[in-house]
Amino acid sequence: MPINKIVNSFDEAVADIEDGAVIMVGGFGTVVSIPSLLLEAIYRKGVRNLTTISNSTGFGSDVWKLQGAPFPEDMDILVRNERIKKSIVSAPVSALYVNNFEKLLRAGKVEIEMVPQGTLAERIRAAKAGLGGVYVPTGVGTVVEEGKEKKTIDGREYLLELPIKADFAMIHAHKGDRWGNLVYRGTSRTFNPTMAGAARITIAEVDQIVELGELDPECIVTPGVYVDRVVARPKVTDAHEEITDAQALESRKRTDQEIRATIERAEERGLRHE
């Protein structure tokens, strides 16, 4: 039988995620890197008490709808609906406003383990790579070292950081095939390829499913061996708003003016610039 990791719906893709599951969610700040439809599906399924592993806790779909995103959900769908028991996260709150996660935190409704972003990536990779732990310098002399073994190796101090493994990893990629091979687009790789394979089951939400052999073997980023399920987003017509030439020109003029003005102000203040 040909190997076929393609599943036909998002609900089917998350059917075995239960209450209390440990889930990894790929992506970074912007919604285009995030497995939005998988997040929606596990919200629909109604699972609770999740432990989540992610870079951030989301901005909420309202922000992304304003930008015209066709799939606007991010981690906030699980946060605002109080589905999370514990969050292992690098960027939980915003310096600029009080987000939904911070509200839950203040209300004592969610536990948090905050992890430096690079350590988070390395701990996830360690799980995938079958390592018992890694010695990381980041965090020595800060609150991050609390409760961790510290070791001096070759004259430098390191913290023992343990693997982070999940039951399910939900990731977003650009294209995938029936073996689970994946490619991404631009800066939207982020935590997605890192998390692929770091869970018992890895589920990839892709923009497009392609025939086996269509992906260039030199350019496949995630070998199919890390991926258990592939599910495709519905096609969208390009919702990307065309900026009118007048607008573009106006905006470009503003930027140029600002730069020139800065240099002029500097010179007025007696600061030479060349």
């Binding site: 890197s33 310098p137 020595v140 982020t190 930027t255 007696g270």
Partner: protein, 227 residues
């Protein structure tokens, strides 16, 4: 602090960024944090080729696009769309932080709440809310060869941000190399903080009066240089 210092003209965000950019040497790999640091990408010194790294997994991207233009799959760490540029490449988060932690960044520029006289950095815990976001800052502070802080010299209330000992949670100890503020450029050395440059109209004594630790005034201390 005397009120006249509070009212005294300081450098604006753009000019701070302009001064920071003067530190970028030919061929430097540079990571810019959100805020003033990111503005520095507009002011790369003429004729120098600098490669920008963003922790979301890209090296060598171009300038920020016009708002609403650009490809949403090509953004800097602040989520701004940027232009593609020849030589650019993409990678995932694990590789991105191999680059950071492995010491491949020549310069990291970020903001701060406080910097101590030893170069300790506090910039992740929002002081008044007692919550924070470590994000990539801690790795960048530990990993970059040179860490430049771009910030206002004092808080809105006029309290010094350059302190003897940080009262906020540390991002990393003894990591800062250079502080560029709205009134001065200060180098962190083994001997202490060295005042190197001043905003026009400011005297070393005035800068000292809004700085907690004692500054060593460089014999060559002069007005901020932008060339």
């Amino acid at each position: 602090m005397s009120n006249n210092l509070q009212d005294k003209e300081r450098l604006d965000r753009q000019i701070i960024a302009l001064r920071v950019a003067k530190e970028f040497q030919d061929g430097d790999i540079v990571n810019l944090g959100i805020g003033i640091p990111m503005l520095a990408s507009n002011f790369i010194p003429e004729g120098r080729e600098v490669i920008f790294h963003a922790e979301n997994g890209v090296l060598g991207f171009g300038e920020v696009t016009l708002p609403g233009e650009g490809d949403l799959d090509l953004v800097n760490a602040g989520g701004q769309t940027v232009k593609p540029q020849p030589g650019m490449c993409f990678f995932g988060h694990d590789e991105s932080f191999v680059i950071v932690r492995g010491g491949f960044l020549d310069i990291s520029v970020m903001g701060a709440y406080q910097v101590s006289e030893k170069g300790d950095l506090a910039n992740y815990m929002v002081p008044e809310r007692q919550v924070g976001t470590i994000g990539g800052a801690m790795d960048l502070a530990f990993g970059a060869k040179k860490l430049i802080i771009a910030m206002n010299h004092t808080t809105r209330e006029g309290e010094p941000r350059i302190v003897k000992k940080c009262s906020y949670e540390l991002t990393a100890p003894e990591c800062v190399d250079l502080i560029v503020t709205d009134v001065a450029v200060i180098e962190v050395t083994d001997k202490g903080l060295v005042l190197k440059e001043l905003a026009p109209g400011w005297t070393p004594d005035e800068v000292q009066s809004i700085t907690e630790p004692t500054l060593i005034v460089d014999p060559d201390c002069h007005d901020i240089e932008l060339m």
